[in-house]
Symmetry: C2
């Protein structure tokens, strides 16, 4: 299984994953986040500068992404651990386009213009199909 196949499962099938961060007191935090784009360049997601999530990413760029999907007999897990960087606005339209949750999460157009895109650009990934027993590891360097 290639990295692009695994990223496609994360982006298209799972859609939502848990992103874990750490604050300045070494307390972990985690929340479900819509995955905007995931491919060989890494994982792209967004958040508003008003959130604790954003503050945690600014003080510690290390994150863990955990995705889970159970469909009939198939149970798939994706885990990625690595570092994020903040991208400029030019990536925003790509991440926003076709995102079914954006209007729910950011109903206000002004706020939508303020959200920042982050990219997990470096890290190690792990795919596990529990029922089939398949395991793959991969690396991201973008």
């Amino acid at each position: 299984m290639e990295i692009q196949d695994i990223m496609k499962i994360l982006e298209k099938d799972m859609k939502v994953a848990v992103i874990s961060t750490v604050d300045e007191n070494n307390q972990p935090h985690a929340r479900h986040i819509n995955i905007g784009v995931a491919n060989e360049e890494g994982v792209f997601f967004m958040t508003s500068p008003k959130t604790n999530f954003y503050k945690q990413l600014q003080s510690n760029p290390k994150i863990a992404i955990t995705g889970f999907l159970e469909e009939d007999y198939l149970i798939q897990v994706i885990r990625i651990e690595g570092k994020v960087r903040k991208l400029g606005k030019d990536k925003l339209q790509e991440v926003l386009s076709g995102n079914p949750y954006i209007e729910q999460v950011y109903p206000d157009e002004d706020e939508r213009q303020n959200v920042q895109v982050f990219q997990l650009y470096e890290g190690e990934g792990f795919y596990h199909s529990l029922t089939q027993g398949h395991k793959y590891t991969f690396e991201i360097h973008a």
Copy 2:
């Protein structure tokens, strides 16, 4: 909504949640874990001393628990952030009993006797029913 109702959803309906930890380099890690018992005394789960999860809990007892359940139109999220402590063996039977995953995760009887039970005994919790818009916060002090 009372704390025991929320914990029941975590234990009985969600069954599995993501537990996030931090290692000594401030890198977050997260994995899906079967929730053994959840009630007003906190959240009880287990892991083997052989795991990185166990090592991370020993070096930093702060964790975040994230549960998610989508059933028909109802989407529920539970988030708890706080600290764990390791319990003695006496809690093990209670956590093991009725746990449908224990034989899959620890097929070896000897290994099953070595797993350690941890309790999130102090922390802050948050329940959110996305579709209904209900939000509740609660505290754990056990």
